[in-house]
């Protein structure tokens, strides 16, 4: 009796192990496929940046590294490839520097403005508070692309074409970040506000001493998202900047792809693309810890 029961239990246990193994195997195959689909273009770019122009120009798509990586990166970094008849080339470092400036200014600007507006909306009761909040909220429906013509005209009238200010300012207003901070501020217990009032802290003091320190992880998480948002801007920089010394790397790269007058230096373009990927990756890797913390936990 007990022997047959043991046998039965044994059989069930082995079936479970087999099933688990099969499930694990399916999971790995699915994940590997996903990784392949996402990583393959990046792999091609990496490999392409290590061959000379003629290899890619012939139409070959090499799957393994070639011998020209160093010379390609040096030339991309310092000169941006050879100038053609119609366009001069811009070194990658100039474009990267411009992109970095833009992305940091946008991220910092957005965070600063949204922190302050969310603070006003949450902690003060003034007439028109909800109207102000909804006006901010409604701009969610008006991204840069929708209001691009009037915005461009305003920038022209202000003489901000071809300036870093003109590049950054229209992108700074952010309903999303305001909304995010508002939601976070709403979770700060009223008692902190009241304790601060009794302690004698004024609104700005409360902002600096209590609200800001509590928001650190949120700010870090938002910085990562906004930095990448700024770095990837394409349409607005394309419109507002014609001076190639102010060109961002995302726009500059597309301009490196010629119009058929001359052969594209795909090796240099690939190298520039790899360089353009590095700063966002660095930001994510560097701030990952705070990023995850900011999205998942609240310190209360």
């Amino acid at each position: 009796m007990s022997a047959t029961m043991d046998l039965e239990a044994d059989r069930l246990a082995r079936a479970t192990i087999r099933r688990n193994a099969r499930n694990r195997w399916i999971a790995y195959v699915t994940l590997s496929l996903g990784v392949l689909i996402f990583a393959f273009p990046i792999w091609l770019t990496l490999v392409g940046s290590s061959h000379d122009a003629s290899t890619i120009g012939r139409g070959d798509v090499p799957l393994w590294f070639g011998p020209h990586a160093i010379s390609n990166y040096v030339s991309a970094w310092l000169t941006g490839g050879e100038a053609t008849r119609t366009t001069r080339s811009v070194p990658a470092w100039v474009m990267l520097w411009n992109s970095l400036n833009m992305a940091v200014l946008i991220a910092v600007g957005k965070i600063a403005i949204s922190l302050l507006s969310a603070f006003a909306v949450v902690f003060f009761s003034f007439p028109g508070r909800m109207i102000a909040f909804w006006l901010i909220f409604i701009t969610l429906m008006l991204p840069v692309e929708v209001r691009i013509i009037p915005t461009f005209e305003v920038m022209v009238n202000l003489g901000l074409i071809n300036t870093m200010t003109g590049l950054v300012v229209p992108l700074i207003a952010s309903a999303t970040a305001t909304l995010l901070f508002r939601q976070f501020f709403l979770t700060i217990p009223d008692e902190y506000v009241e304790a601060a009032k009794i302690d004698g802290a004024g609104p700005l003091r409360f902002f600096k001493d209590v609200v800001l320190p509590l928001s650190v992880t949120n700010i870090a998480a938002l910085f990562v998202i906004l930095f990448i948002y700024g770095w990837n801007q394409y349409l607005w920089p394309l419109l507002i900047v014609s001076d190639r010394d102010l060109e961002t790397v995302v726009v500059g790269m597309t301009k490196m792809i010629g119009n058929g007058d001359a052969q594209n230096e795909w090796n240099i373009i690939m190298a520039t693309a790899v360089l353009a990927m590095l700063p966002p990756v660095a930001v994510v890797v560097f701030m990952q810890r705070w990023f995850v913390k900011g999205l998942t936990e609240t310190e209360k």
Binding site: E191, E194, K197, I198, D199, A201, L214, E299
Partner: protein
């Protein structure tokens, strides 16, 4: 060290009248406990004294100075919140020092005051910790410390013990009382817990629907409740109320249950047949023949004592607390209601009727 005086303080939120004019005089060094069920306006009253709410009308005076229009920071008060409201990113020291720092006190003086308060509250070893590293009782002490270092004219406590477990609550209750006596700071303590109210207060303010139903010492409130609400709120289990009518001459009442109760402390004014409510506390009812028969519904053993719920003739419920073990209590219990244990209330208004 200060007096506090409230002069017909009223508060209205939109259409709701939350406070119907509260008058209160608090002497220097006195501990006043404001007690009432939730929604009675006790927290609103405290917040008006703190300056976190503005009164619709009336005046708040601290030490004779009208502070009605002043900001909380300018009232020279300190408050202990229900959830302590310790700033989570600041250490215990920083939490306690914050208010002093804002007032521009010198670091050396801040250090001295915080150290002194920390020693008094036995949290000296915790000064560098963050609030989340503290237990509930420790947080409570830090919140007290934050109030103490300010050396304010007035302590305000907003149900500070309600987040603690039962055992710690009893311990902290005693500590708060000791500390308040030692520092001699005038205090206002809000709670919904009648035991806290009885043990902590020099005087109680029993709030009911935005009014102060009674302002008196704990024993006075217990022994001579001003109306049926106060009588039912203070004391556990709650006082029993029995419907009755006045007998001719005002010297006795006839219970609906069919028993005559004589007024041992003197006759009351009132016509014969006037409706009365007679109150008697469960612990004053005794076991014995010649009174009423209690049909037992529920027996709650409390160890040395037993609380018995039941109904008497006429269907009224009666709760009895007897100093006997629960075993052997039958389905019907003969009880005696001693005449001198009764409280006499007006049957319609609920107010206490004193001997004429």
């Amino acid at each position: 060290m200060a007096t506090l005086s409230l002069d017909s303080v009223k508060k209205q939120f939109a259409a709701t009248q939350v406070l119907h004019g509260i008058d209160l005089e608090v002497a220097d060094g006195e501990m006043i406990v404001v007690v009432g069920a939730s929604g009675c306006g006790k927290s609103t009253l405290l917040r008006i004294v703190a300056g976190l709410e503005t009164a619709t009308s009336g005046h708040v005076r601290i030490d004779g100075r009208d502070v009605t229009a002043l900001e909380p920071a300018d009232r020279d008060i300190a408050m202990v919140f229900q959830n302590y409201a310790l700033y989570p990113h600041m250490s215990v020291f920083e939490n306690m020092a914050y208010g002093l720092k804002i007032r521009g006190m010198k670091p050396a003086e801040i250090r001295r005051r915080v150290d002194e308060a920390a020693q008094m509250l036995e949290i000296g070893a915790l000064l560098e910790r963050k609030p989340r590293q503290l237990s509930g009782g420790q947080r409570q002490r830090v919140a007290m410390g934050r109030a103490v270092v300010r050396e304010p004219k007035l302590f305000l406590f907003d149900e500070p013990l309600s987040n603690l477990d039962a055992k710690l609550r009893v311990q902290m209750r005693a500590e708060i009382r000791r500390l308040q006596k030692r520092l001699g700071v005038t205090s206002l303590f809000v709670t919904h817990d009648q035991v806290e109210a009885m043990t902590l207060g020099d005087r109680l303010v029993v709030m009911h629907q935005g009014r102060a139903a009674q302002v008196a010492s704990p024993m006075e409130v217990w022994g001579r409740p001003a109306d049926t609400y106060v009588a039912s709120f203070i004391g556990s289990p709650a006082m029993n109320f029995l419907a009755a009518t006045m007998e001719p001459g005002g010297g006795a009442a006839a219970l609906k249950a069919g028993l005559a109760i004589g007024f041992t402390d003197g006759p009351r004014a009132g016509e014969a047949g006037m409706p009365l409510t007679l109150g008697i506390r469960p612990e004053h009812i005794q076991l014995g023949q010649g009174g009423l028969d209690l049909a037992v519904d529920l027996v709650e053993p409390l160890g040395s004592e037993t609380v018995i719920h039941g109904t008497i003739r006429g269907g009224e419920t009666l709760t009895v607390r007897l100093p006997i073990p629960a075993r052997g209590i039958g389905a019907v219990l003969p009880v005696i209601l001693p005449w001198d244990a009764f409280h006499i209330f007006d049957g319609s208004s609920g107010r206490r009727i004193e001997p004429a």
